[in-house]
């Protein structure tokens, strides 16, 4: 599943071959000015994305998880060029976006399915018109666009004869999300960014859509960036996973490794927050308290330190960067994993998970 499908080899748009990342992000920064405070003063911006670098490999599914407000959607919007980065570059299959590769060309190749299936469909357009909208703007003839829309509707499991003429409010959430997927595929993108695309769906439909996404990925040679708060779904879907915290990357690695033994204390707490599926063993205390701190004035040093049970004084002074504590493990931004960082646990190469969990029990004083 993690291997690139054959279609990649034959995609005429492929430039650098399978070894070259489809997307390389370097030092992406996006700060939003805060209303009512000085635009230039320190503290006057929301550091929504604050120095994020990662690659998306051809044919892979990269998962992105992290709490509300940590910058997942902003990262996605930056990748879509819906908003402009303050700093950082986006390289698509070897070409700098906006420099070597014109924006209009890039936009066709990267499409997105949003979290809110209702808001992303125009309420006054029929389903069919919503799907044909993009291709027609890009010059496709009306009959061809309609034929394509009907194909795609059938492909995502919506009978075109029943659904093509309907309006968004006449569909349930799952049906609308299938329409959004069909619409995103109408321009034959290479990268599909799925931002909470299955979150609003019930489980039997979710299972079908996840199967559908895996099929579409193989059939169309797609690469996915899969943003979701549902860790079970992420575990199931992704090849690699990126854990974000307050606009930065906390951990990045192979999905299986991260889920089996998280390296970063935040990842461990996140995984411990999953529902228990046992009414006699319900969660009594939340593994993490509070929402993430304010991205307007993020904590100094490691941004997780005010909530981290492994925090030591050094954590408030040095911002850790992504490091792999041992070959083959994930990369994590935690001083406890960096030899000579000054953290007392740094001598140990890997932290046993139960240890981390017992130390993560919330404490009021934090």
């Amino acid at each position: 599943m993690s291997t690139a499908p054959d279609t990649l080899a034959t995609d005429p748009r492929d430039r650098g071959g399978p070894a070259q990342s489809l997307l390389s992000i370097n030092g992406l920064v996006k700060h939003f000015p805060v209303k009512g405070s000085g635009f230039f003063g320190r503290g006057g911006v929301v550091r929504a994305v604050d120095g994020v670098s990662f690659d998306i490999r051809k044919g892979e599914t990269l998962g992105v998880v992290g709490e509300s407000g940590c910058g997942k959607s902003t990262t996605a919007r930056l990748l879509m060029h819906l908003i402009k980065p303050d700093h950082g570059e986006i390289i698509f299959d070897g070409e700098k976006v906006g420099i070597d590769l014109p924006l209009s060309e890039y936009r066709r190749q990267v499409q997105m399915v949003f979290q809110d299936s209702y808001a992303s469909l125009n309420p006054r357009l029929t389903i069919e018109d919503s799907i044909t909208f993009g291709p027609r703007i890009h010059g496709m003839a009306e009959t061809a666009a309609r034929a394509k829309a009907h194909d795609l509707l059938a492909r995502v499991g919506l009978d075109p004869s029943r659904f093509a003429g309907r309006y968004p409010h006449e569909l349930s959430g799952g049906q609308r999300q299938r329409v959004n997927i069909a619409r995103a595929l109408a321009l034959d993108p290479r990268l599909l960014i799925l931002d909470e695309a299955v979150s609003a769906l019930d489980k039997s439909v979710e299972a079908q859509v996840l199967n559908l996404l895996q099929d579409l990925k193989a059939d169309f040679g797609l690469t996915y960036m899969f943003i979701s708060h549902d860790l079970n779904v992420v575990r199931f879907m992704v090849d690699r996973v990126m854990v974000m915290y307050l606009g930065t990357v906390a951990e990045l690695g192979e999905g299986e490794a991260v889920f089996a033994s998280p390296s970063h204390p935040y990842t461990a707490a996140l995984l411990a927050s999953m529902p228990k599926m046992d009414p006699s063993e319900r969660t009594i205390e939340a593994p993490l308290t509070g929402d993430p701190p304010n991205p307007i004035n993020p904590p100094s040093g490691c941004r997780f330190h005010p909530r981290c049970k492994l925090a030591e004084p050094v954590c408030a002074t040095i911002q850790p960067s992504l490091t792999a504590s041992a070959p083959g493990t994930s990369q994590a931004a935690c001083l406890a994993l960096v030899p000579q960082s000054g953290h007392t646990l740094a001598a140990r190469l890997s932290l046993p998970v139960p240890d981390i969990e017992s130390m993560l029990m919330p404490e009021a004083s934090a």
Partner: protein, 319 residues
């Protein structure tokens, strides 16, 4: 055991465009005081419509509602416009998956909560503000005083959800209707909101009707679960019974398709087909076209919900 909410034979048909849509079909439910009932089901199964019926929120011109709904002694369908206005917010209030639907983008959260309190109750603006602050503390919003001055778009998803819960609790309702309130949240915040709702249920003696498609969430919060399919309740019972001994083929299918049980890259087990077109329901059991136990008898009449031991009820002639 007093039922705060009792629904009998609720049927909702939408008649706006084209063929009538029977979104809810003879649903009967009871919610005890201080307990949590979860409505679990697939997209379009009628969960939200059932919930909205409790507040009579359907468009009058394009919907037909029959049956009986009693909430804390109020006969919801018989109330006058003023009567239902009084019930909304004060006896029953509602929270949504998308808090932006409940929150007004152009007013601060503090303005919205104090305004709501002032509209319903005879208190001074100062008292209303104090209550708003108290509510923000109760829903555990950090720096509550400052957050009261924030606009909804300035907050992250989890914080908006808390603000919406605070707004819903502004007039001390007895019943809280929750429509997928944690669906768009990440796990750390979801579990906090579920624990918060459970705490509010205990402290305030709230009855909660909680709609979700996520069985994991249901297991964390429910006392009882009612599973809906195509506008009907197909199974109901205690959380443990539904989870460990599901009897309806649909519930069994739902549990089997869970991603938790699959290995990465596997094809997930799915329930074949898709939910029926509510304008053209099959005769008899609505699940028949997707069910692997279907016999001719299943298509003859709608199976009724039969209650067995421990209030475990199922609507399937072969269960």
């Amino acid at each position: 055991m007093s039922n705060l909410v009792s629904i009998e034979g609720l049927t909702v048909t939408f008649t706006g465009r084209g063929k009538p849509v029977r979104a809810v079909d003879h649903v009967s439910l009871e919610v005890e005081k201080g307990s949590v009932l979860v409505l679990l089901g697939e997209s379009g199964s009628g969960k939200s419509v059932t919930l909205r019926s409790l507040l009579r929120l359907h468009p009058e011109k394009t919907s037909k509602v029959s049956g009986r709904i009693i909430v804390d002694g109020h006969d919801i369908m018989a109330l006058s416009k003023t009567g239902i206005g009084d019930v909304r917010g004060r006896t029953v209030s509602m929270i949504f998956q998308e808090p932006m639907l409940a929150l007004d983008p152009v007013y601060t959260l503090g303005q919205q909560i104090t305004e709501t309190i002032l509209r319903h109750e005879n208190v001074t603006p100062e008292q209303a503000h104090a209550r708003a602050l108290e509510l923000f503390e109760k829903v555990q919003i950090p720096s509550p005083e400052r957050r009261l001055n924030a606009y909804p778009h300035e907050m992250s998803g989890g914080m908006r959800q808390r603000a919406m819960i605070a707004l819903a609790l502004a007039c001390r309702p007895k019943v809280l209707l929750a429509d997928e309130p944690t669906t768009a949240l990440d796990a750390t915040v979801q579990i906090q909101i579920l624990l918060l709702l459970r705490a509010l249920q205990r402290e305030l003696g709230l009855s909660i009707v909680f709609v979700t498609h996520d069985i994991g969430v249901a297991v964390e919060i429910a006392d009882k679960i009612a599973v809906m399919y195509a506008g009907r309740i197909v199974e109901s019972g205690s959380v443990a019974d539904i989870l460990h001994t599901p009897r309806h083929p649909y519930t069994q299918g739902l549990l089997a398709s869970r991603v938790e049980r699959a290995k990465k890259g596997d094809r997930l087990k799915t329930i074949p087909g898709s939910p029926p077109d509510l304008t053209a329901l099959p005769p008899g059991c609505a699940f028949a076209p997707r069910c692997d136990k279907t016999t001719a008898a299943c298509r003859e009449q709608v199976p009724s919900l039969v209650t067995g031991a421990y209030d475990h009820a199922v609507a399937c002639i072969h269960a």
